[in-house]
């Protein structure tokens, strides 16, 4: 099994440590991982802004870079969901559709494909779990609070395997953080208010770290934490799952 490592544009540029942790974690679990060097972006920034018609270049590049792999795994729920829902290509329509089926967000790849049931990881901290909306309501990584049904959470299933880690209970366990792509600048006031309210929920419940399968949410929350000179840090879930003893 060869996995194509999909590192979204902003993770590549701003959060290389999360990408390294993803790579190392997969390698630790015995997976053959390749990072196609010519990848750029999933096209979501344009598409969510109403410019889906401008994302064809990104789509074609994605197909070119990833068609050959058995699985494609990325540490970003939002970007993975965009590929799953919207990837299409006039040049290679079939390949695009096949990619939609074999692209996975890191957490679901670990729980559903690799069926990981133990991890050699230690992270002795209080951690708040931020459910990314695209991971939660798009990829169904956990049961969303809106629906009636049995509870489950794939990220928490993995975090519970980490030695020393204590998950904090939030007042609103799956409210949106307000990042929303270009929403974060177009609707700056609402975006920041939403982010601040999420941060308060985590901090008042004792979190030392806020984690998520989505760095876009975390980038936004980090901006708020940093401005407030908070001691609370953000950390991508891959970095926790890869934290060594």
């Amino acid at each position: 099994m060869t996995v194509g490592l999909f590192i979204p544009c902003y993770v590549n540029q701003f959060y290389p440590n999360a990408a390294k942790a993803t790579l190392q974690l997969l390698q630790k679990l015995g997976v053959d991982v390749v990072y196609p060097a010519k990848q750029t972006c999933c096209g979501q920034p344009m598409a969510n802004s109403g410019f889906e018609h401008l994302s064809q270049g990104c789509n074609d590049l994605f197909v070119e870079n990833f068609a050959e792999f058995d699985y494609i795994v990325g540490p970003s729920a939002s970007c993975v969901l965009h590929i799953k829902d919207h990837l299409h290509s006039d040049h290679a329509p079939e390949e695009a559709m096949i990619i939609r089926e074999k692209v996975y967000e890191l957490v679901e790849f670990l729980t559903d494909v690799l069926k990981v049931d133990k991890l050699d990881a230690r992270f002795p901290h209080k951690v708040g779990m931020h459910q990314s909306c695209h991971g939660l309501r798009g990829l169904h990584l956990a049961k969303m609070s809106e629906l009636v049904g049995p509870p489950f959470s794939k990220p928490e299933q993995l975090l519970n395997m980490v030695d020393g880690l204590e998950l904090v209970t939030l007042d609103r366990r799956d409210d949106c953080c307000g990042f929303g792509g270009t929403f974060c600048v177009a609707e700056e006031a609402v975006s920041v208010k939403m982010g601040k309210d999420r941060v308060i929920d985590h901090t008042k419940n004792g979190a030392e770290y806020i984690t998520s399968p989505d760095l876009s949410c975390l980038m936004h929350l980090e901006g708020i934490l940093h401005r407030d000179q908070s001691k609370v840090k953000i950390i991508h879930i891959a970095e926790i799952l890869n934290a060594s003893l």
């Binding site: 544009c9 590549n12 540029q13 701003f14 990072y35 010519k38 018609h53 609707e187 700056e188 901006g223």
Partner: protein
């Protein structure tokens, strides 16, 4: 009516958020209703199956609207109700006016009806010398404040009790500083009793219209629709074409979902069925299109006609909770308003589908399973193609698409961006960057993951 002018959602929401304490209270009040809704949903056996059934029944209605409407009309006539068809708001208003004029009626009482808000009926009638009093308490409060409702179920949810007390002091002569909700409600009740007793005409909306029997159902918690309708000699119902349900038994699905989704109550206090005029009374029913058939013609958006106006999408929407309903500058606010409004006036409402993070909570609380957040995404595509976005945004999107379509250009831009963050942060960290206003930029790592991989892992494989 007070107008929000040309201000867009982002600016209006920002104004609302300025009063932090009030904004927090507003968010908490709506979240509390969302939690009540969750509790009811979890206590209802087969909740998800009920939603599925409601969605399927409404899809059937939308696909066979023509047949059901004719059946409904025939049964209304059989029951002795006068039926009118209105293509738009103007026609609707003219019909109401002509009914009242014929009877020389100059005052009317009206229970909650978002449709008549959409049509600006009150203003239309007032210009022609007919006074209208809204009898739903929330709508009444909004009316005396000369402001549109901010929420379809909770019209004045954006007002605190002290603000309402101040309004009552001015308009109803209550003592200054009185803000006890029970005391204020008693004053309004006394005032409205007199209205009910003296009005010869009463207008209601309709929550559901049963094609099979020609009856319509009005759900209220205050009994105000009933008080109006039972005491007036002329009863008028204004309803949108989409309010049809095929058979009476289908109400068993919708009445179980409506109040639970709306306010977290098992059922509305009053679910009143109106069918035939009592002796000496006239009943009129106006079927209003006002953009609905146009919406039916838009394949990607037609299923928004399934909406039963419960407001659950508003209570759950974080953008709505933080920024309030009035920021949507449309009668129907919140996520559902944001997908209905562009069908009515795309240019005026071009901002609304962008007033969302696409978090998807709305679609999942919706009792009739409207894919609201997918439609928000689709409206964005339509609005851009129709040219209703700023040129500056279109240009920056083109530049972004160009950069991201070329690995070399992207890598160069990434390197430059990180370099700027490290060595010239003042170029980004300034007041012209809306990100930076209340948030810091991420740090600029010396090396991208791609660069690190080429140096380390890449070599391993060679």
């Amino acid at each position: 009516m007070r107008d929000t002018g040309t201000k867009k959602h982002a600016a209006l929401a920002e104004e609302f958020i300025q009063d932090k304490e009030k904004a927090d209270w507003h968010d908490g009040a709506l979240w509390w209703i969302r939690q009540k809704r969750d509790m009811q949903a979890n206590q209802t056996p087969q909740w998800e199956e009920l939603r599925e059934a409601a969605s399927a029944i409404k899809m059937n209605v939308i696909t066979n609207l023509h047949t059901y409407l004719l059946q409904f009309e025939a049964n209304l006539k059989k029951n002795g109700v006068k039926v009118y068809w209105a293509a738009n708001a103007d026609e609707h208003n003219q019909i109401v006016y002509s009914i009242l004029k014929e009877k020389n009626i100059t005052e009317m009482v009206k229970s909650k009806s978002m449709l008549t808000e959409e049509c600006n009926l009150n203003e239309y009638l007032e210009e022609r010398g007919i006074g209208v009093i809204n009898s739903d308490l929330g709508e009444y409060i909004q009316q005396i404040d000369n402001e549109p409702p901010s929420h379809i179920v909770l019209p004045c949810i954006h007002k605190r009790k002290e603000e309402i007390g101040a309004l009552f002091h001015i308009h109803l002569g209550t003592e200054e500083g009185l803000s006890d909700p029970t005391a204020l409600t008693r004053v309004a009740r006394k005032h409205l009793r007199n209205v009910f007793l003296t009005r010869r005409a009463a207008l209601t909306g309709a929550n559901f219209a049963v094609a099979e029997t020609g009856e319509y159902v009005v759900c209220t918690n205050e009994g105000n629709a009933d008080m109006g309708a039972h005491l007036a000699e002329v009863q008028i119902c204004s309803m949108g074409l989409e309010k049809i349900v095929p058979e009476k038994k289908h109400l068993a699905v919708f009445l179980r979902l409506l109040a639970r989704s709306a306010t977290g109550q098992p059922i509305t206090i009053y679910s009143s069925h109106f069918k035939k005029p009592r002796p000496g009374q006239e009943m009129h029913l106006i079927l209003v299109d006002a953009g609905r058939s146009r919406l039916l013609g838009r394949e990607d958006f037609r299923n928004s006609l399934k909406c039963i106006k419960c407001g659950a999408c508003m209570n759950t929407c974080p953008v709505y909770r933080k920024g309030s309903g009035l920021s949507y500058h449309n009668t129907i606010t919140g996520p559902i308003g944001a997908i209905l409004a562009p069908n009515l006036d795309m240019e005026k409402h071009a901002d609304l589908p962008f007033a969302s993070t696409l978090c998807g909570s709305c679609s999942n609380v919706c009792p009739v399973k409207i894919n609201i957040h997918d439609q928000l995404y689709k409206w964005r595509q339509v609005i851009v193609k129709e040219g209703y976005v700023a040129n500056s945004k279109a240009l920056s999107m083109k530049a972004m698409a160009f950069t991201l379509s070329s690995p070399a250009a992207y890598q160069a831009a990434g390197k430059t961006g990180r370099w700027v963050l490290n060595y010239a942060p003042f170029a980004i960290n300034n007041k012209f960057n809306p990100w930076y206003k209340q948030r810091d930029m991420p740090g600029g790592p010396k090396e991208s993951f791609g660069e690190w991989y080429a140096k380390n892992q890449g070599k391993k494989e060679d």
